[in-house]
């Protein structure tokens, strides 16, 4: 009897202590989360803005870009299977450019997250990779920060291009019969980004007016 009593007693005591520790450390985590959340959100917005500034000159629009967006649902044309945002840049109320969150689903290491700016005239403002899992030192040149050619990074070749200059059938890497450069030994990463960028351009051409007309924050 006394043995069973000890066993029960020990179990209850340790369980109680475990609960106390769990509560204490969970509340510590949630407190930290609450305290740090505003700072984290601010720096995430700033980070997003910095990326957008890379693809769209800050002087080319005058609205508050991050607050003027359309929420896209799952959109295969943009590679979004869980949705994303499309920001609308305007200058004095006139449409200036669209900034798409897009995904190239077929990178060597899976999905490649992109930000693509398309001007109202259909010209590409720029493309940036925001997240990827391509092979370090091989396929990661798609991110200009990792590109060893700092003066003319690979991803710069898209700037200023439009479907009027390059037909959709030509919007491919050279190896696939298109016009865009790639680096030997890492075609897949370049192909994925190139094709995804082309799809964004086609999507932008098709839906431009509807995207600019939709009310802010609305879903399409």
């Amino acid at each position: 009897m006394s043995n069973r009593y000890t066993a029960t007693h020990t179990s209850l005591r340790t369980a109680g202590i475990m609960v106390v520790f769990t509560l204490a450390f969970t509340s510590m985590m949630s407190q930290t989360y609450r305290v740090t959340r505003p700072a984290i959100e601010a720096s995430e917005q700033e980070q997003k803005m910095r990326l957008i500034n890379d693809v769209l000159p800050p002087g080319s629009y005058d609205n508050t870009l991050l607050e003027d967006f359309v929420a896209a649902g799952p959109t295969p044309a943009l590679g979004l299977d869980r949705g994303g945002r499309i920001y609308r840049a305007r200058r004095a109320g006139v449409p200036a450019a669209l900034v798409f969150e897009a995904v190239a689903p077929d990178g060597y290491g899976g999905k490649i997250q992109l930000v693509v700016a398309v001007g109202a005239d259909g010209r590409l403002g720029g493309v940036r990779v925001t997240a990827h899992k391509e092979t370090p030192g091989l396929g990661d040149y798609i991110d200009p920060r990792k590109d060893r050619n700092k003066t003319r990074p690979w991803i710069g070749q898209f700037v200023g291009m439009s479907l009027a200059d390059v037909a959709p059938a030509q919007w491919k890497v050279k190896r696939d019969g298109g016009i865009f450069a790639y680096r030997i030994g890492a075609t897949i990463s370049a192909r994925a980004v190139t094709n995804a960028t082309g799809r964004v351009l086609e999507y932008a051409a098709e839906h431009r007016d509807a995207l600019f007309a939709a009310s802010t924050g609305s879903a399409i």
Binding site: F25, M28, P136, R145
Partner: protein, 232 residues
Amino acid sequence: MNLQTFRENAWNGLWKQNTGLVQLLGLCPTLAVSTSVVNAVSLGLATVVVMAVSNFAVASLRNFIPYEIRIPVFILIIAALTTVVDLAFNAYLHDLYLVLGIFIPLIVTNCIVLARVEAYAAKNDPVSSTVDGIMMGLGLVWLLGVLGGIRELVGSGTLFSGIEMLIPGLSPLSVFGDDYPGFLIGVLPPGAFFTLGCLIALSNRVRTRAAAGKPAHAASDGEEAAPAAAAP
């Protein structure tokens, strides 16, 4: 804590019980992120912070943790503190977080943290436990730095690439010139195993030499290092 314990902790962490060379713990993040000096040292520094904090916390609370449930409690403490460090870095040191950020959650999977908490902090006072955490972490930092340096040099012919993200104004060294084609195995996982294997072999040689050079009573040093040689 006195000078003697401090020196012992430092010597254990930096060389005698080096996490990467002797204890061979936490190999997964070690091998995965040591593709360049900057990545490797960044992960190492983040580990130092987490190890110091969790060793301190466990040593302070050690009298309240029943022996039977110490492991779940340790894991809880480490995971909670890692989350706090992660959030704090994200909020207040955002530029550094952009470089270190992806590594901080990885630290939870690094069993060296749990190992030191269990083997040292659970039995010692908070101050020397903190020192132990820092020294073990620094031992990992220098090993990761060397590992990352060799892999980066072989793989892409550069050193310190990405340093401009940590310290603005500095730029990477291009050791073999811009036309170095790159020897891919350096940055791929097999390169990590080859390089670490060579480093462990080298360290074992130094250790056995040192043990052989000493009188008989010091030979136990060499034997302690031996398990590393036996590991696959």
